[in-house]
Amino acid sequence: MFALILMSQSLAAWSFNLAPQKVPFAIPNVSFTSQSKQHSLSDYKGKKVILWLFSTWCHTCVASVKAMQKNQVLWNKTGLVILALRNYDNGGYPGVNMPAFMQKFAPKVKSLNNWVIGEASQQMDEKLNAKKFPDIYFLIDENGIVQSVNTAPNISMDIILKFANGSTLQ
């Protein structure tokens, strides 16, 4: 029984390598859909971007979308673009669609210019989230280079803030 306590606490110190390849790497030019239009990641070159792929049934995604919305003043200051995309096929498990999810947990972001809400393509899923993480994000600099890959923005917000403020991550 006490082994369980130790195990659960040791998981706290566990750091996962989620990146599909060694960081830093150039983000592949894959597409996604937003408001029924096809977009490409190359459209965002020259901007600091967080590409966040998540499934709408996931609890960290709920907590994270609220945390991201809470920091909107900082994103305005730093010019961070937030590409919040539902995993392709919602990660393979049913759940609500993106408009309903955002309306429920972060209704303010609908009217914000720096948020792009959409759906990942199968190609994006294969290239960036082949292991099917329910919650994964990529911090992409102005040159299209991925500087960090992580999960659960709500608990790794310091990394996102550092990146948005232009601090070196590695």
Partner: protein, 169 residues
């Protein structure tokens, strides 16, 4: 219920068992309070998770830690009396309660499935996501099942304590 109350009356009249129950309650309450909200922190069980506690998670934390705290003195009492205790359903209840929130939305399961799939390709695909999705959408049911298993184990151990007392008299 009467069996449990009688067994607890027998065991908890001894002060050392009262201490075991109290310490177990505090330890397991801490464990559950930091672990049950881990589905909101990507599997990280820490004090940071406390901010994601809600009335449902607090209620389950209290219930499960109370059940474990009542069961611990009975198990130790049975062992000291040289009798067999029932631990399998207790372990099952603990495992479900602790592991479910950790596996729900963390990268642990996809990484493990990815590793298994490299050896057994049939285990790949969306197998891991099905488990994670199920855990995420059925958390209350899983915590209820964990509580029932703990209750059952408490009952089993209480029965053995009563039987032991009857055999001696």
């Amino acid at each position: 219920m009467n069996t449990i109350i009688s067994a607890l009356k027998t065991v908890l009249k001894i002060q050392s068992y009262q201490w075991i129950a109290s310490i177990s309650f505090l330890l397991f309450l801490m464990l559950y309070l930091t672990t049950l909200p881990a589905s909101y922190t990507g599997g990280y069980s820490s004090f940071e998770a406390l901010q994601y506690l809600n009335p449902i998670l607090i209620s389950f934390s209290l219930l499960m830690s109370l059940l474990v705290a009542l069961m611990m003195p009975l198990i130790i009492y049975l062992i000291r009396q040289g009798q067999k205790s029932s631990k399998s359903s207790a372990t099952g209840g603990l495992l479900i309660g602790v592991l479910a929130p950790m596996l729900c939305c963390s990268p642990l399961l996809p990484i493990a499935i990815g590793f298994i799939a490299s050896v057994l390709p049939a285990m790949g695909g969306t197998f891991g996501i099905q488990i994670q999705g199920f855990i995420a959408t059925h958390q209350i049911e899983l915590f209820t099942a964990a509580s029932l298993l703990l209750w059952y184990s408490l009952y089993q151990n209480a029965k053995r304590v009563i039987r032991g007392v009857q055999c001696r008299t």
